[in-house]
Structure formats: C-alpha cells, structure tokens
Symmetry: C2
C-alpha cells in the first residue's frame, strides 16, 4: 500500500499542528478499532476499555453540544476527567474519535432498517425504508456532520468510507443492502450477476444520499427525505428495466464498469 508521497510522511521531529499524519498499521498499543457490537478486537483490559469508552462517550456528547471544531481535545479530556495525553493515548488524533462514532452508527442503522423493512417484499419500499432508517439514525448528529464529512472526504485518512479501515463498517452496510434486495420480490427476476453487483451500487446510492443530507439545511432535513421518496421508485424502475432484452448491451457495459472501476475502489477486488 503506497503512502501518499511526501505529504503523508510523518517525520519524527516536529509536531505539526493540523497534520493528520495518519499512521499506517502502526505497532502502537492503542486499539484503534473500537468496541464494536459487531465483534472487534478484544480490549487489553477492562479498565482500558472503560477509559476508552468514557472518552469516546464524552467526545460524542460534546460534539453534539458544540460541534466538532469547537470541541477541543482539552475540553474532552477535562470533561472526561482524564489528561490530554491520555486521550491521545487512546485516540491518536482527534479525528479517530469519529471512527468510533461511525462504527456504532452503522451497526444501529443496519439493525433498525432490518426491523422496519421486515413487513414488505416490495423492493422500492424496502430501499426507501433502508435509506429513511439511515436518516433517522443519523439525525441527532446532523449538526456536526459537516465536520465529520470533511474528515471522511480525505482519501489519505483511514476515516474515508472507502478506506481499508472502514471496511468492516462498509461491509455491514453492503450486507444490509444485500438483504434489501434479496428479501424483495425483485431479486429472483434479475440476472444473478447483477444481484451480486447491486448491493455495492446501492451502498453508493446511500453515499449520495449522505452527501445530499450533509448539505441539506432544511428543517429536519425534510428535503433529503423528499429526495429519497422521489428517487427510490426511479431507481427501482431502472433496475427493473434491466430485465428487458433491449438493454442487454447497455447493462452489460454498465456491469463491466462497476466491476472494473467501482468495486476495486471499495476493496472488493484487487485490480490495480
């Protein structure tokens, strides 16, 4: 895995303020992963895990109260009753606090969506429910989502939704969309190859919705909700069209494009 040329190199000497200087697979003792309900690496000790959770909890609370930028590491440490150094022991940069949040939310979303779409087999509706569920789960965090998003957009950051470090959360989300499709009446009618590809594409669709949501300033992000209501039937119809013979060539090309350019980017195959 190639590092970004000079810009990412963390030289030993100075302390560069704003530089993320994301460490690679470092040998540090900090369990960067987090206590995921989905099953992550085991914590070293109970006490360690408790401190870690305390810091994360405190940070999330303060982020909601004052926003990401306005919440200083000093404030988080003070509020959590630990030293700044200790906070950095668990989260080697401020942005790593976000990873914990991201993991947790992904899990909650998947659970909530599965519960809510269980009653229907209509693909369009299942898709809409899955997206709506995300909006509901994320709603409390909309105010600081801008900062969150900013960090996530950095390709050199492990927090990018496309990064290796985000793979577990991404896999959880893709799995949900596989269920959305498989549990619908549409799946059996579709070409098997397409059924294989679609969950990742639907996840990308969610990413677009997230993008829209982040920029949405309407009350209760009503505009994004309307966007979901309007766009899901269209998406369902376009997928449905793929069944007709006339579209075979164009669908074939689209599948090739997805397979060759989208999936590798999100870690589905090693091409390069």
């Amino acid at each position: 895995m190639d590092d970004l040329a000079a810009t990412n190199r963390t030289d030993g000497g100075n302390g560069t303020a704003g530089a993320p200087a994301v460490p690679g697979p470092e040998g540090g003792p900090a369990p960067e992963g987090g206590p995921l309900p989905g099953g992550r690496a085991q914590p070293k000790t109970d006490k360690s895990e408790a401190t870690r959770a305390l810091i994360l909890e405190t940070a999330m609370r303060l982020f909601q109260e004052r926003g990401y930028e306005k919440t200083t590491m000093r404030a988080i440490a003070t509020e959590a009753g630990v030293s700044v150094g200790n906070a950095y022991y668990y989260f080697s940069a401020k942005e790593f606090l976000i990873q914990g949040f991201y993991d947790r939310m992904t899990y909650e979303h998947a659970a909530d969506a599965r519960r809510r779409m269980a009653h229907t087999r209509d693909f369009s509706e299942r898709l809409r429910i899955a997206l709506d569920s995300w909006l509901d789960t994320a709603a409390p965090y909309h105010e600081f989502s801008a900062q969150f998003f900013r960090t996530a957009a950095d390709p050199t950051s492990s927090l990018s939704p496309f990064s290796n470090e985000s793979h577990p959360a991404r896999a959880t989300a893709v799995e949900l969309f596989r269920d959305v499709l498989q549990g619908s009446e549409l799946a059996p009618k579709l070409d098997a190859e397409l059924v294989e590809l679609l969950p990742d594409v639907l996840w990308l669709y969610l990413m677009i919705v997230v993008l829209y949501w982040v920029f949405d300033r309407t009350p209760d992000t009503e505009r994004t909700r309307e966007f979901v209501r309007r766009s899901t039937p269209l998406a369902a119809r376009m997928i449905n069209l793929s069944r007709y013979r006339v579209f075979r060539p164009i669908v074939r090309d689209a599948k090739g494009l997805i397979q060759d350019f989208i999936l590798p980017t999100i870690g589905k195959a090693a091409v390069k």
Copy 2:
C-alpha cells in the same frame, strides 16, 4: 529545495530575526495576468494585485513541494518576501488560498478543453476531451488534492463546489459543458428541456470523476483516465436513449428529479 527550512524558524524572542532578504516586489514588473476571469472583485491597485498573485503563486509552489498541511503560513510569507500579516491581509485564512487556485484552474481547464474539442462534433468524444482536459490541468496538483478535497467537502465552507462563493467558477465549468453539448451533433436531436438540464448534470459527472481522481493512487492517475474512456461512451448512449418514446415516462421523472433536487442545490433556482 529545502534550503529555506532555516528561515522557517523565526521566533526566539529577538527582533528582526530572519528578516526577509528579498525586497518588496514593487520595483519589478508585476507578473500580473490580469484580473481573474471568473469575474471577481476589481483589484484596488496593480501593486495590490501583484502582491496577491505573488502570495498565491508562492503558496501553490510550496503546496506542490511539501503538501498543504506541511506548508505553513510563515513559510509562504517568508518565501514570498512578505509579512505573515500581509499574507492574511489578502487571504484571511489558509484555506482561502485554495479558492484562488480553484478559480484559476477552472479557467485554464475551460480554455484548454475548448481548444482541444474544437475539431470534433461527436458528443461522446467532446465529453471525453473535456474530462481528459481537466485531468491534465489538475495533474500537477494531484499530490495535495487530498487536502484540497477535504476542505472542499465541508458544506459550511465557502470552498465547497456547491457554495455560493464557488458560483462563478461553477458557472464557468457548467458553461463549458453547455458548449460540449451544443457543439455536438447530438444537441439538435434532443428535447430542448433536456438540453437545458444536461450541462449541470455533466458538471456533476465531472465532480464524480474528480472524486475518483482524488482517490486514485495509480501512476499518472491512469485508472481515472481509463474510467473516463470507458464511462463517457456509456453516458452518451444513455443520453441518446432518452430520445426514444418508450423512455418518455422515466426521462420525465428523471428530469423532475434533477429540476427539483439537483439544480436548487447548486444554486440554479430558489425552491426551498
């Protein structure tokens, strides 16, 4: 090239430490390329504009050499032979340096693309050229594009490509895509309403390519270039399909979606 590292250290309590060896630029001929094509506020004086350009030029050079985060405002000021305060006089925050870069690049891209696509009327090829041209124009900045992108992804920032402040540059780019379409043999065959909407959609397509490019770590971003080569014919074919009667309902819905949810977001109409 790192010989200015020493000049970077100025503090220590003594006055006039590391005084700029370079005298003010007032004597020399201004490297001024004229006021920004993007339609910016008029410069107060030539000297002012020259200083502004000098600072921007220096910053871009240092960003390329060391990356965005590693380039300090002190270094930019020192290297440009101005005071830190002066640098802040022109660019009230470090990230505003990026806006200058963005404006300039947009203009260069539009000019280059128009030149290169003049010889053909094939829509697919014109589109490919326009995107290729962007990749060529942006190539020197790929290494620090991550930081650039990170800033651009913040919806609260004026640097977001969707923001009001970015409107001039965005308009320039959309105008280019209008030319891409209008200069092609495809335009007269399409529904007029669609011709009106497509330039903005094509600009969004560019945004997707940019996203892909930012994350692309292959040499010379060959992968993104391949993505463009493969996806432009598909895009052209899909647009072409819209002419057929069968698709009228789906095209109508898609147009509605664009009109109601995409255009307002990028400042094309006041809905809300």
